[in-house]
Symmetry: C2
Subunit: 333 residues, 2 copies
């Protein structure tokens, strides 16, 4: 059984999102809590800038919820940098216990699932933070942006941004309820092209959605929307194809966060946005506020990750995908 | 409150350890479940060798417990490689939901804490796997071993090895009980020398131990031993100094896993062993069997991690430490 339902009601109390300049100019630009026109966020390196995204988003989320950092039982945090250093240096000042996590671009959902399990297992209040930065990611996984390398048609654009969420048991003023989680397993479809992450992740997204629907007896039609994290255009098509092959035909309420974040006329973006910050930003900026104000009642939020590093691709390894899912609902809905 | 006591009895059901050739010749060489004289573990690259350590240790742990992989609710796994690829490729074949974690060398304890919280929060059976490999770690963090670079006196030797643990609720035949956990926060003492990890981690070890003792009212004397993960000689001295400054003087039952794994006459080792595989191997090979057979009743097991990557050190960042702790006891003891 991959679906786990919290034994105690579990809520996302508050959240905050942070975006860079291209994100500010995108479809949800005005919905970010904080944006910077300078992608360095006032820091000297891209890596420090990403750490600053983590720090700012948690600081803002705590402020919005009126929560003192010391009340947090623990923080779950992750990013795409080697050894999760954006999380380390971004969250160092909080002096709160940290669980570093790595789920590639599925980090937001992985963290929210672990926070849910931790709350039901004895913790009182947890934060979840996920970030990515285009320039630190490009330097680390491909080439420094200063080289001006060309992107292939199936490539995606790593989001400069991130978000933090506070998960707790107090219902008053909370944004939404986490009704169930579905854990993700790795799916390897033999993709070796680091510029086609959508195809690497789509089988995992389909696997997790199919598992969730089969275990619960629910279907796509039971939700306002079913979201994926950052499959992009290529991956979204493949996801719907795989769903159709398994009996879930003509899904009309699927939305991919990777296709919701940037200006569709921005040609640099290619197949869509990606990165831990992509699904995290959409969840915090758009989905949770729409649930809070009653525009949405029930959604499935699934974040997808591509599991690789620069050396593993060079050594000829495939790129397995993973996808973690949460059912998020309007309180009392 | 950083100490969390499981609401339901939580047990380490079984475990298995895997070691390389230098580990085979060390103090616990004969206690490993599996050792290889070839540190490539029959694979073509050091990274694949480390993945094989993960695969072998989980396979052996499941075999020892007579547990089918499909019974696992989820796997917690981590390592020192960029984007945790040893965990990814080592555990891919199991087709079980994966939570990637990053806690540097504290991974074994981080995973066991998260497994404990997950079990109490709704999961049924979890595995925890942690690994490291000397050659993949040296290449990634310092220099390829083929360069023959010299080690400084405070350097430690990254363990080629790892272990897996199965955590569940069934008492029969279990090895030991997890009575409490204490979550670790980052402590930054300003260390910037990547060859002095012991000094970077000792303040975090002291912080977690002091928090545990103050919250519970217990002291070092209430345990057979209090373990640290891989402080080494330098870090262990500093740990005891910091404990003494905080009122815990003359601790006589502290043991450091980094000083227990290698032949003390092996001059290459310098200050001791380190890496995720160090504390994991000692826990699986020595501590848990001794608890099971009644030689030990109550121990505190704390694994320590140094949080950095190659670029963060080059960019002048400090190396914060982190330490997660578990109270592990004889069943019925």
């Amino acid at each position: 059984m991959r679906v786990i339902k919290p034994t105690k009601p579990t809520y996302i109390l508050c959240s905050a999102s942070v975006g860079g300049n291209r994100e500010r100019r995108g479809q949800i630009g005005s919905l970010f809590d904080i944006t910077y026109t300078d992608d360095r966020f006032g820091k000297k390196t891209w890596e420090e800038a990403e750490a600053e995204i983590q720090r700012l988003s948690l600081s803002k989320a705590l402020e919005k919820g009126g929560i003192e950092p010391k009340r947090l039982s623990c923080m779950f945090a992750g990013d795409l940098l080697n050894q999760c250093v954006a999380s380390v240096f971004g969250l160092l000042e909080y002096e709160v216990p940290l669980f570093g996590i790595f789920g590639a671009c599925s980090t937001s959902a992985e963290g929210l699932i672990l926070a849910t399990l931790a709350l039901n297992g004895g913790a009182e209040l947890c934060s979840v933070t996920a970030s990515s930065h285009n320039c630190s990611a490009e330097r680390q996984f491909r080439f420094p942006i200063e080289y001006g390398s060309q992107k292939t048609p199936t490539a995606q654009w790593t989001v400069t941004g991130g978000a933090s969420f506070i998960v707790g048991k107090r219902k008053e003023n909370a944004l939404a309820e986490i009704k169930a989680v579905c854990t993700g397993r790795m799916m390897d479809s033999g993709i070796t092209d680091a510029n086609n992450m959508g195809a690497a992740m789509a089988p995992a997204a389909a696997d997790t959605y199919i598992s969730y629907f089969r275990e619960t007896g629910e279907g796509p039609e039971d939700f306002d929307y079913i979201f994926t994290g950052d499959l992009g255009a290529e991956g979204s098509d493949l996801f719907k194809l795989l769903m159709a092959e398994n009996g879930y035909k003509d899904i009309i309420n699927h939305l991919d966060c990777g296709l919701m974040i940037y200006d569709p006329n921005d040609e640099d973006i290619k197949c869509g946005g990606s990165g831990c910050g992509c699904s995290a930003s959409i969840l915090s900026s758009l989905i949770l506020p729409d649930i809070k104000r009653g525009r949405l009642n029930n959604v499935l939020f699934a974040a997808t990750g591509a599991l690789m590093n620069a050396a593993s691709v060079q050594q000829g390894n495939t790129i397995p995908g993973i996808c973690h899912l949460l059912r998020i609902s309007r309180i009392g809905g």
